[in-house]
């Protein structure tokens, strides 16, 4: 058995563009679920609207493809109606941070037993590359032609502040670490949030000097810093480069959770 068996073979190849990182994140999530040895009939995948939210359609298990931004709201209902089910939510940044922001905050506050995998491609990829709440400062998109002037949303900080039990951030370059992080999130009772930065060669990379797919993946390799190293640098009083993204396990708590299987 490998994670390949979780795919709906008749639906592949999927519609993602060549080089899109969403497929990588689905691979890592399914590999972690495979290690948990969950039964297919006890696993539910929920998603909203967007590129990333097409993921449950390619997985051979029960799935819900819901309205824009309401994936966590639907998943809360599924979990509370039947706590025996294992619920995994796939969302994107436009789904989770923009229109579904309030559901996300209250999912974290309730600390309901979900695992949320957010594929953050820093843009609205499906609708033509509009700027999203997580588009970094100075990045081009079709609605920010002179560079984004806004401060991006740090979803992990938001989840930590709102009270999620497990928060980590990885990228599509760090596949093995991401697999372990999703596994830890699945094992943790309570709300676990895993943010995965993914490349979007069609909408984001094309406008932001990542002409090839590998350019953006290489950017993830060179412009990310482990949380332990960042803490060490701050402790020693050395400067942290401003464009570095902090990756790693950012929070692990043991707060009381809602909807845990008795």
């Amino acid at each position: 058995m490998s994670f390949e068996d979780w795919y709906r073979q008749d639906r592949l190849p999927h519609i993602y563009c060549a080089g899109c990182g969403n497929g990588t994140i689905i691979n890592c999530t399914l590999a972690a679920i495979e290690q948990m040895a969950w039964k297919r009939e006890e696993t539910v995948f929920v998603s909203g609207i967007g590129c990333s939210s097409r993921a449950p359609g390619y997985i051979a298990a029960d799935s819900l493809h819901t309205t824009h931004g309401r994936a966590i709201a639907f998943a809360t209902g599924v979990k509370l109606a039947n706590p025996e089910l294992h619920v995994v939510v796939f969302t994107g940044d436009g789904d989770l941070a923009a229109i579904g922001g309030n559901h996300f905050i209250h999912g974290c506050r309730r600390n309901i037993d979900l695992t949320v995998v957010c594929m953050n491609n820093q843009i609205y990829g499906m609708t033509g590359g509009q700027g999203s709440p997580t588009t970094p400062r100075g990045c081009m998109s079709s609605t920010t032609p002179y560079g984004c002037a806004e401060t991006p949303f740090d979803l992990c900080e938001l989840a930590i502040a709102a009270g999620a039990n497990y928060v980590s951030r990885w990228t599509s370059y760090h596949v093995k670490e991401l697999e372990k992080a999703v596994l830890a999130g699945l094992q943790t009772p309570g709300f676990s949030f895993i943010e995965a930065l993914v490349q979007c060669p069609t909408a984001f990379g094309r406008r932001n000097k990542f002409k090839q797919v590998i350019d953006q993946v290489d950017y993830f390799r060179t412009h990310t810093m482990l949380k332990a190293k960042r803490d060490r640098l701050l402790e020693q009083g050395e400067p942290v480069p401003p464009d570095m993204v902090t990756i790693g396990e950012l929070a692990r708590r043991n707060s009381p959770a809602l909807g845990v299987k008795p």
């Binding site: 490998s2 795919y7 999927h14 497929g23 990588t24 691979n27 590998i214 993946v217």
Partner: protein
């Protein structure tokens, strides 16, 4: 075990050519029937997972399979008595 690329799924993004620690995948030259340039295998007998998967009973490296966004890379069992090369690296 041996490496195989699924021609019906690969979209030619060439992520595998950069991600493999042994540089087994290299960029192809000829487009296939769908106009997609598939990566080629450069001495695939060097793959750790192909040689040691059965001995250890688990996937050893597997980064290419996890990274491939189109689920095109997998390992297939060899036929009985299939001739295969052995690569020795110094």
């Amino acid at each position: 075990m041996k490496l195989a690329i699924d021609e019906t799924r690969c979209k030619g993004c060439n992520l595998c050519t950069k991600i493999c620690p042994y540089k087994i995948f290299k960029e192809g030259k000829k487009a296939n029937r769908r106009g997609i340039i598939l990566p080629e295998l450069d001495r695939p007998e060097r793959c750790t997972n192909c040689r040691l998967m059965h001995l250890y009973g688990r996937t050893l490296c597997g980064v290419c399979q996890l990274t491939c966004p189109d689920q095109a890379i997998h390992w297939v069992e060899e036929l009985p008595y299939e001739p295969h090369k052995v690569a020795i690296e110094y």
